[in-house]
């Protein structure tokens, strides 16, 4: 789960990480009401769940309150990479002497949380990581001991020459780790962390993601969820026991198991088609799940054909076939459907599908080819 920058800033504040003052506004009127009438330099930032806001024109400087109102008016409602801006953060702009990157991540390789920091902060951090990975300092954190002060100092010492600033930064690393650990975060970034000319160390922009598996014990974090339209679809699918990700193609896929679902998408692409989605219905042959899955697939107007690919393991294919037929009787659609069943009781399953009158095939490859052919009619 993702949260917005302003929400990450609130969490930073709560854990004692210094951030510049700012207010979040949903409308121009709110900017009028909440921004003080002074000559302070401010920055108006779009709050959307996507990177590259600055380049898209979603971040603007304002020298006066009137300018803040004007810039907010330009940014609110703007489309950034397919997302509509519904909120802006109006924050005090700060003078920057130096920018740094700080991040925490769940590291697959060390099987622990890793602290990363770099003196090359700012928007190009991914490029830095790609071109000169040696410029990223990494510190693996023992899950039992947590980030120890000396570790935080060891990293900070490589970024700051002045001992006072170094200690300020080290304290921020430790606080960020506490926040990360206590909220079951899966990514926490301060980018940039800045040194101001008056030698303050401040978090200017923050990004946090959270482990979906741990949301059941993170009610405060869960209450911050503001999902986009596509994400809402994905969440609704999740609540029905389905895993769904919308893509841009025109062949809807329904598969049991995530790996097989990916392999099915690959197969469609390999033979010249474009998958419309990733959809894993999991291990159950419950007809309701199939109905829910079909409804999700068919709600995507791009879908021109549907490919159902089931490998029966513990799940029996004849059960799945009966579920499918029950489901299809409740759905009215003109969209052609190709069914492939294999594994346990596939023969019986295919017989049921054949009786119902759907095209059915025995291999993934044939199913993909057939679905592509039908999608082009």
């Amino acid at each position: 789960m993702k949260i917005h920058e302003y929400q990450a800033r609130n969490l930073f504040r709560k854990y004692g990480i210094p951030v510049p003052d700012g207010v979040v506004c949903h409308s121009v009127e709110e900017v009028e009401k909440n921004v003080p009438n002074d000559e302070k330099l401010r920055v108006v930032k779009a709050q959307v769940h996507v990177g590259g806001r600055g380049k898209a024109g979603g971040v603007k400087l304002a020298k006066t309150k009137a300018e803040a109102v004007e810039k907010a008016g330009q940014i609110l409602g703007m489309d950034i990479k397919g997302l509509t801006v519904e909120k802006v953060l109006v924050a005090d702009a700060v003078d920057i002497e130096k920018e740094f990157y700080v991040g925490l991540i769940n590291d697959r390789n060390t099987k622990s949380i890793t602290l990363m920091a770099s003196a090359e902060g700012g928007v190009e951090i991914e490029e830095v990581a790609r071109v000169s990975p040696e410029k990223i300092i990494k510190m693996s954190i023992d899950p039992v001991m947590g980030l120890m002060d000396w570790q935080a100092r060891e990293v900070a010492l490589q970024l700051f020459d002045d001992p006072k600033q170094m200690r300020k930064a080290a304290a921020i690393f430790v606080k960020l780790y506490q926040l990360y650990k206590e909220t079951d975060s899966s990514l926490a970034e301060i980018n940039p962390l800045v040194l101001t000319p008056d030698k303050q160390v401040l978090a200017i922009d923050g990004k946090m993601n959270f482990d979906d598996n741990a949301l059941y014990r993170q009610s405060e974090i869960l209450s911050m969820r503001e999902a986009t339209e596509d994400e809402q679809k994905e969440i609704a699918a999740n609540e029905k026991g389905l895993s769904y990700i919308k893509l841009d193609g025109n062949i809807g896929c329904m598969v049991n198991g995530a790996g097989l679902a990916m392999a099915t998408m690959d197969m469609i692409k390999l033979y010249g088609g474009e998958p419309a989605n990733f959809l894993d219905i999991g291990g159950s042959s419950n007809p309701q799940k199939v109905v829910d899955a079909m409804n999700i697939l068919l709600s995507d107007s791009n879908v021109k054909a549907v490919m159902i690919n089931i490998f029966g393991g513990i799940t029996r294919c004849d059960d799945v076939a009966r579920g499918l037929v029950a489901a299809l009787k409740n759905i009215e659609t003109e969209i052609p459907i190709v069914v492939r069943l294999s594994g346990t009781n596939a023969k019986e399953g295919l017989e049921i599908i054949r009786e119902y009158g759907l095209p059915n095939v025995s291999t993934m490859k044939e199913a993909a080819q057939k679905a592509i052919e039908l999608s082009q009619k």
């Binding site: 991540i105 390789n109 990004k207 482990d211 741990a214 198991g257 990916m262 294999s342």
Partner: protein, 290 residues
């Protein structure tokens, strides 16, 4: 011979009285797995289909001499179940449970290392040495005894591939589903090393997925250490780049994680990579010269 499990393996089921635990216990039992006991705190002294139930893993190990355990307990309690098995001295722990918080897995890792416990999963289908021992939820029917090893991050895709191997006459030594979670127990390299040392394994099939760089590391290992042929398939070749990968994810693996990079790494290590699952048996036969 085989890796990790054989007909001597004595298995406990943690969460044996739950719906999934009870169902799969009977399936494993039918397959011939030597299930010696189950754990369900507060229900010690009862039995499930004749299998004795204990309150704690330690009691069960003391009473039965079990050396493996399979976990079906719900996600919020799975991390603790892994720790309990490890402290009780169980050598191999297989966690089937899906949805375990990442930090719970991380917290268990130093303990597993300290106690010398091998973990498979979480969020995995388990493992099987055909005709000897099945631990987990794999459909036993599709497997056949033989000399091809298999390691996979996936579940049903594994069944798909195993079915193809079996029908084309390639039996399996041991098949291991390592699970799709970002932080998991035994991984490609650990298992490749076991297959390399197993006299019953002639070739290995590796089924990877996009994300992380475990496949690249496996490729490096194969290049340097493996003498046995390896055939690979990577699922997710059509997945859009960047999906679900934040800044830090890209940073930690220095920009890797795509199918292209994994395939390139395998090609450079002399591993044949199948374009689609259907090509796998043919490539294994090509490598083995049969």
């Amino acid at each position: 011979m085989s890796i990790l499990i054989n007909k001597e393996t004595k298995v406990l089921v943690q969460g044996i009285t739950g719906r999934d635990g009870a169902f799969h216990t009977s399936k494993m039992n039918d397959y011939g797995t030597n299930i010696v006991g189950g754990i369900s705190p507060g229900k010690g002294g009862s039995d499930v289909g004749g299998i004795p139930v204990f309150d704690t893993v330690q009691e069960a190990v003391d009473a039965t001499g079990a050396n493996a355990s399979v976990i079906f307990v719900p996600a919020p309690f799975a991390g603790d179940a892994i720790l309990e098995a490890s402290y009780a001295g169980v050598e191999l722990v297989v966690c089937i449970t899906e949805g375990v918080p990442v930090q719970d897995m991380m917290r268990a890792m130093p303990v597993l290392k300290q106690n010398g416990t091998k973990l498979i999963g979480a969020n995995c289908p388990g493992l099987i040495t055909p005709d000897e021992c099945l631990i987990g939820i794999l459909p036993g029917k599709i497997f056949k005894k033989g000399n091809t090893g298999l390691i996979s991050r996936s579940g049903t895709l594994t069944y798909e591939v195993v079915n193809m191997l079996t029908t084309s006459g390639l039996g399996q030594s041991t098949c291991v589903g390592i699970g799709g979670d970002p932080v998991a127990g035994l991984y490609f390299i650990d298992l490749l090393e076991m297959y390399e040392n197993d006299p019953e394994t002639d070739a290995v099939v590796l089924i990877g997925e996009i994300g992380g760089d475990a496949e690249e590391q496996a490729a490096q290992y194969i290049k340097e250490k493996m003498t046995k042929p390896v055939v690979a398939f990577i699922a997710g070749q059509s997945a859009p780049p960047g999906k679900r990968m934040g800044h830090a994810g890209a940073i930690i693996s220095s920009g890797s994680g795509t199918a292209e990079e994994k395939i390139k790494a395998f090609n450079e290590a002399g591993v044949l990579v199948a374009k689609e699952p259907g090509e796998i048996p043919g490539l294994v036969k090509e490598k083995l010269g049969i």
